[in-house]
Symmetry: C2
Subunit: 137 residues, 2 copies
């Protein structure tokens, strides 16, 4: 797990319990994962890990902006470590999410919106749905 994440935990007075660290490790290694995936993988290292613990931690980490929710059509939300702006390729078949770079043009949009629609911009989410190479075979 990144040191930055550990520091974030400290700064928010969230204790670095083995369970919490394991959850963060799983999310980092998978890139994006839903509750069940996190639970299943984390349980391998931490046999006593409970689903309730996963839920409680996800909620806490979302509140502190250490994690980000990725709401998906047709699939359960996935979670990712907060990182710089990027877009998602989402496979409609298997639900796999892949990060791609967000090009400069799109980043501009935010400013325009704020003024055009009297909307207090915070962040932008671009999800591109389709079928991944694996599933289209």
């Amino acid at each position: 797990m990144q040191n930055r994440t550990l520091e974030l935990l400290k700064s928010y007075h969230l204790k670095a319990t083995p369970q919490r660290i394991e959850i963060l490790n799983v999310i980092e290694s998978l890139g994006h994962a839903n509750i069940d995936e996190i639970y299943e993988v984390a349980k391998k290292k931490h046999s006593t890990m409970s689903l309730a613990t996963v839920y409680k931690n996800i909620t806490a980490l979302l509140e502190k902006n250490i994690l980000n929710e990725v709401a998906l059509n047709n699939f359960k939300s996935k979670y990712e470590i907060v990182k710089d702006r990027h877009a998602h390729l989402v496979c409609k078949e298997c639900g796999y999410v892949q990060d791609i770079e967000l090009n400069q043009e799109i980043k501009h949009i935010s400013k325009d919106i704020s003024s055009d629609y009297n909307f207090n911009f915070e962040n932008l989410e671009l999800n591109i749905y389709g079928v991944c190479s694996k599933c289209s075979k």
Copy 2:
């Protein structure tokens, strides 16, 4: 309700029941609505309308691509009548969703992606999160 929608129902052999038409009317008039909102509003005209009917219809209409799901961070999914590409302004406070035009630049992205990532592009969803004018007062 648009005639186009009625034709779509016919072409898919979905019966134009009063309940189904009312549900479509509610979604069209609200723009975007979640299950409960649809149920509450539709019930006003159709006092016998049941929640199960709403669920079943939403599922059927999604399958036929007459409706589109709008998955949201922190809120229940909303549904909209399928329409041309557009983006969403999403208020983090109240969950209100507003359509905005999707500019030309973004539409280009789709083609690039397909080749760059060996990804079979289908559609793109751009959600811009922030606080609406009403909530920022």
